[in-house]
């Protein structure tokens, strides 16, 4: 396991090993400053501020966290609710900027967190493909070129020109998955192995995920289901109170994690 000391001295100096990693996190810290009470109106905010009654509470979501994921590795992330797993995903997908430390992500990131982001029920499947893909930063020209692959994969050929209001939840998830994985990303972020459609389709999705991995995609899977981590991951990471508690081969980490659970 890499310790913070190895990486800390000069984070900006590129190292050979670091250059090849898909994700490289160095001394990541995310600190939220939350008001102690919920303030919903601007008037209230200004009045409290003027009276000097605005108090903040520091909340550490992540603390001195180091992590490296090389291409082609399938890493599982375990931890209790509120341990910082979602924050970790947000930091990697650049939704959140860490308050300290450095994140380097090489190549395109595909988040399988929000399937069918921005889907609108009054629009057709086809229109939604373009909309959804645009949210991932794909231009409509390139989507047009690969549209048939998306439709093929989703198995929605007959329904693609219907408003998705008429789709079942399984069909929606299939379309969402097909769009989110239309291009092989360098990094795939998964929040729980998705229950997409029927068993046959789920296997097809998993096959695609593993296919990506064998072509060099690094995968980060956050899950509460130990089985899915044990099934898919080559390495596991345990996060506890925003810090890295353990890292190593999947079995070992899962073993320690379940023991840790038994203790408390």
């Amino acid at each position: 396991m890499t310790t913070a000391a190895d990486l800390a001295p000069d984070a900006s100096r590129p190292s050979l090993r670091a250059d090849s990693a898909a994700i490289e996190l160095t001394g990541i810290e995310v600190r939220f400053s939350m008001p102690t009470e919920r303030i919903v109106s601007f008037k209230e905010y200004v009045l409290k501020r003027l009276a000097g009654k605005l108090e903040h509470r520091e909340l550490w979501a992540l603390r001195s966290l180091d992590l490296e994921v090389p291409p082609g590795e399938f890493v599982g992330v375990v931890g209790r609710n509120g341990a910082g797993k979602s924050t970790l995903l947000k930091v990697i997908s650049r939704v959140l900027t860490p308050t300290a430390g450095r994140v380097v992500v090489r190549g395109q990131v595909a988040p399988l967190l929000e399937l069918g982001a921005g889907f609108h029920f009054d629009l057709t499947g086809r229109e939604n493909v373009f909309l959804n893909a645009a949210l991932f930063g794909h231009s409509s020209r390139i989507v047009q070129k690969h549209l048939h692959e998306v439709i093929d994969f989703s198995e929605l050929e007959e329904f693609i020109d219907l408003p998705i209001r008429n789709y079942s939840s399984g069909m929606l998830a299939r379309l969402g998955f097909a769009v989110a994985t239309m291009f092989r990303p360098e990094l795939l972020l998964i929040d729980e192995i998705l229950a997409v459609g029927d068993t046959g389709f789920q296997e097809k999705c998993l096959a695609r995920i593993h296919d990506f991995r064998s072509q060099g995609t690094a995968i980060l899977l956050v899950s509460h289901q130990m089985e899915s981590i044990a099934d898919h991951c080559t390495r596991a990471v345990w996060i506890e109170r925003g810090q890295l508690k353990a890292e190593g081969p999947t079995d070992e980490v899962l073993q320690r994690y379940s023991e840790g659970f038994a203790e408390s």
Binding site: S41, T97, V103, G107, L113, A117, F183
Partner: protein, 287 residues
């Protein structure tokens, strides 16, 4: 399962893309770079908004054309009978309508920018998208609606036998400046409005005041002359002049109005953009 047998396509430009949190440019610059990279999203999102507007009801398009006409009829009847504006030198209905279209655009687009920004938070806190994309798309959507509403305006010009001059070709530029101004104001209000629910309510009250403070339903001449100089401080006064003079007078608005409008629009845009991008943590911590 043929898809797993051949290598999956990689988006060509995406391969070399590296995100390094320690080498990020200033947020205001980064957001602009990302907005350009995601320009297709802006286009798609605007098209979506326009499509939805016209899809929801068969009356969609008709309504866009009818609404300003009906509003104008009511206001013209009320104002030309209650207040007698004779000898203005231009047809008062056209004066009202061209001003109303501008204010209607400003009113709706800024409020909708606040709405869209808040609505997109659920999405933008899970996957990375430049958040300004939704605001820009909203401004574009309402600019298109405004352009459609120019059709009934042109029809009325024909009915009233108002001469058409080449000056009307400057109207799109005035609209564009209004769009930039609305975007700036919208971003500013959205930043605060995402956090506090009373900001939008306060802004709505302000908008009502702003409407009456701008010569839209009355000619500027009815205001005492010692107060008229305050119109010059009102960005909407200059903007409305740009799009109204070509219609009612058949001439391009005076240069000083163009310069003032340009200054106000760019100023609002820079301030709005700056606040929206540098205060983005406001959005992050709401999730």
């Amino acid at each position: 399962m043929t898809s797993s047998l051949r290598p999956s396509p990689i988006q060509p430009a995406a391969r070399q893309q590296v995100y390094d949190s320690s080498r990020r440019p200033h947020p205001a610059v980064e957001e602009l770079q990302e907005l350009i990279r995601f320009w297709d999203l802006v286009v798609q999102w605007s098209r979506r908004n326009i499509k939805l507007r016209y899809k929801r009801s068969i009356l969609g398009v008709v309504w866009t054309l009818l609404e300003p006409l009906m509003l104008m009829t009511i206001l013209t009847v009320v104002f030309s009978n209650v207040f007698r504006f004779d000898d203005l030198g231009y047809p008062f209905p056209l004066y009202i309508l061209s001003g109303l279209l501008l204010f209607d655009f400003f009113n709706r687009s800024t409020l909708q920018i606040v709405e869209e920004t808040v609505a997109s938070l659920g999405l933008a806190t899970r996957i990375y998208v430049p958040r300004s994309a939704f605001a820009v798309a909203t401004a574009i959507t309402y600019l298109v609606n405004w352009a459609v509403a120019l059709i009934p305006l042109a029809a009325i010009m024909l009915v009233l036998r108002q001469p058409l001059s080449w000056a009307i070709l400057t109207i799109p530029f005035g609209m564009l400046l209004t769009g930039l101004f609305a975007l700036g104001v919208g971003l500013l209000v959205a930043t605060l409005g995402a956090f506090f629910h009373d900001v939008k309510l306060t802004y709505q009250v302000l908008l009502t005041g702003w409407f009456y403070a701008t010569p839209i339903i009355y000619p500027p001449g009815i205001i005492p002359s010692n107060l008229q100089k305050y119109f010059l401080l009102n960005p909407l006064f200059h903007l409305v002049t740009l799009v109204r003079d070509p219609v009612i007078l058949g001439q391009v608005a005076p240069l000083e109005n163009w310069l003032a409008a340009l200054g106000f629009s760019l100023g609002a845009l820079v301030v709005g953009w700056w606040v929206f991008t540098t205060q983005r943590s406001v959005f992050d911590y709401r999730s």
